[in-house]
């Protein structure tokens, strides 16, 4: 791959029966980047990924994926992209070896036997190739799926919530593997719900109701949210949270251990809202908003109107 953008699409749109699942989304991902794709359930992440890998025909949009036109080059794109579905979607009633061998055949890989053998070795499953995929644990299934997605040496991996239902240790190993592969020049677009995973990405894209709300590095996304957050500690935080939530300017009042995080996107209004409680016994401290605060903030919908900034309607026709 030449240096540059692995994904460069504009105005991607998909409608189902009059319902717009993805609405004029622009996305740029640099080659070798790990791009986290955030958004609540049903926000259009999966639909967008399916359009990129040629499973769905976009109703509108333009651009390139790995240098091929997204509207006309889906067959070429399919050969260069690895797509890992949300649910384990390999065949439970085939063995590990049979699954990998089948995928290798489908991608018309030349030295199939060697590639499959090496893939099993990389998985650390030598001698267990004859085990049925359905008998594997969640973590192993996910590793098998990743190995199968990569058997044809793709340049871009589209992973749709790859770590759902995987234990923390397996998740960490999975992400280490992903960073290793990214260093080798592979590009990733990873849909996820987990904030700790999002923070491990080079860049983030946040999508809600089919619209892209924000994209950039973690710091940029937090910055774009214009969110102010205060941390408060003291007695009866639950009662305090209840009182604060109803005040104008307060978007979130969330408990974090012994403290309460109060956020809002209007700093002055927030200051006004907490003013009556600034005295003792409460202790207040201004803190940086976390990615999770921003995530909830976006999901709250208030930002939906404001964030439809110039980035959205920029270069697309």
């Amino acid at each position: 791959m030449p240096d540059g953008l692995a994904i460069d699409v504009h105005g991607m749109t998909k409608r189902f029966d009059g319902l717009t699942a993805v609405n004029r989304v622009d996305l740029q991902v640099r080659t070798g980047d790990i791009c986290g794709f955030l958004g609540p359930n049903g926000s259009g992440k999966t639909t967008f990924i399916r359009m990129l890998c040629g499973l769905l025909r976009p109703d509108g949009g333009s651009g390139t994926c790995l240098g091929h036109d997204v509207m006309t080059g889906s067959e070429a794109i399919k050969g260069l992209v690895g797509y890992m579905t949300q649910r384990f979607s390999f065949w439970d009633d085939l063995t590990i070896h049979e699954n990998l061998d089948f995928v290798a055949r489908m991608y018309s890989i030349g030295n199939r036997r060697r590639v499959v053998r090496e893939s099993i070795e990389r998985l650390g499953l030598e001698g267990q190739g004859n085990k049925l995929a359905g008998e594997l644990s969640g973590g192993w299934k996910q590793r098998l799926a990743l190995a199968a997605c990569m058997i044809h040496d793709p340049k871009l991996l589209l992973l749709d919530e790859p770590t759902a239902g995987v234990d923390p240790k397996a998740r960490r190993e999975f992400w280490e593997e992903i960073h290793r592969l990214a260093e080798q020049g592979l590009t990733f677009l990873i849909a996820t719900h987990y904030m700790d995973e999002a923070e491990r990405c080079h860049r983030l894209a946040f999508i809600l109701n089919g619209k892209l709300l924000s994209q950039g590095t973690v710091a940029e996304v937090i910055e774009q949210a214009h969110l102010t957050t205060w941390s408060v500690s003291g007695p009866d935080l639950t009662g305090l949270a209840g009182k604060l939530r109803v005040r104008p300017g307060v978007e979130q009042a969330v408990a974090f251990g012994n403290t309460l995080h109060i956020s809002g996107d209007d700093a002055d209004a927030l200051l006004g809202a907490i003013a009556p409680f600034r005295a003792a016994p409460y202790e207040w401290r201004g803190i940086d908003s976390s990615l999770e605060d921003v995530f909830i903030h976006f999901m709250g919908g208030r930002a939906g109107r404001q964030m439809e900034g110039p980035r959205m309607d920029g270069p697309s026709s």
């Binding site: 797509y83 949300q86 065949w91 055949r105």
Partner: protein
Amino acid sequence: MKFSPSRLWAIVVKEFVQMRRDRLTLGMMAGIPVLQLLLFGYAINANPKHLPTAVLMADNGPQGRTLLYALENSSYFDFVRRVKTEPEGRRLLARGDVQFVVNIPENFTRDFLRGARPAILVEADATDPVATVNALAALNAAVNGALKNDLKGPLAFLSGTAPPVELQIHALYNPEDITAYNIVPGLMGTILTMTMIAITGLAITRERESGTMENLLSMPTRPLEVMIGKIVPYILVGYMQMALILLTARLLFRVPMAGSIALLMAVTFVFIVANLAMGITFSTLATTQRQAMQMSMFFFLPNILLSGFMFPFRGMPVWAQDIGEFLPLTHFLRIIRGILLKGNGFTDVVRELWQIALFAIVAIALSVKSFRRTLD
């Protein structure tokens, strides 16, 4: 992207491996034909004999007894009860203890010898017409044959003159009226219809239900490769069922095979493809395996009832026949019975075959179209 035989082969191999691991479906594919054959072949008889019969003998003359012997010899009537009164006979009929009551009236012998043409009353439980029709048809011949010897001397005039025309009946192809000869070839078509439609429907909805279809389609493959890859293994399954049934038909039921088995096998191909295409169309409409199963049942029912498999095709009203003409099974039944029982050749078969072919073409077009649509 061109059609790739090696990708097609990959899908075929995968289907076979999955089929081998799916014990239940495998058992269904072999078990259903055998079970149905045994049940239908051995259990169903449209020409029942030895039916329980009661007799009311108000006259003990020799002619009456000759008559009863004759009836028993026809093998349709077994005299199991003797009753004294007519109401008693009726009660037995009502209770279902007997199928017939034969009533030989008082003074039968006297009236017979006088040439007064006495009446014999046969009452039948005709709730199920199939059960009685053959026995009743045999009555006349048995009665006339039995009394012929007694029509001598003064009674000779009763034997009558020869009828104005001589009626000759040749019951061709199945002269002994053996039900299995009709049912077993019919079962081949019925079983193929059922398994081909249900199993392809299941095979494709299963991929969709478990999410593997999405994975499959994200690979560089053409929809046609997926479709043909799914169909090919089941064509072989169809032929294996066919061979199994033919073998059983030959060995257990001694069904005659007058025509060419090679021709039958060739024709079966068109029939199997027609049903598989229908199964795929159903699978694109169904979202779950359960729905696919229900749809195939919905299609299967008219096939059983209106194709002429169970009931005579010509006995149906015209609208039902019109529906029947649409079903591939109707034409396949005519073909297979024609080849096996009548020894029909290619020219006889073509008249029915083109209609199955037409159905197949329409079903394939429909399945390709709907299969493509599900991708989006």
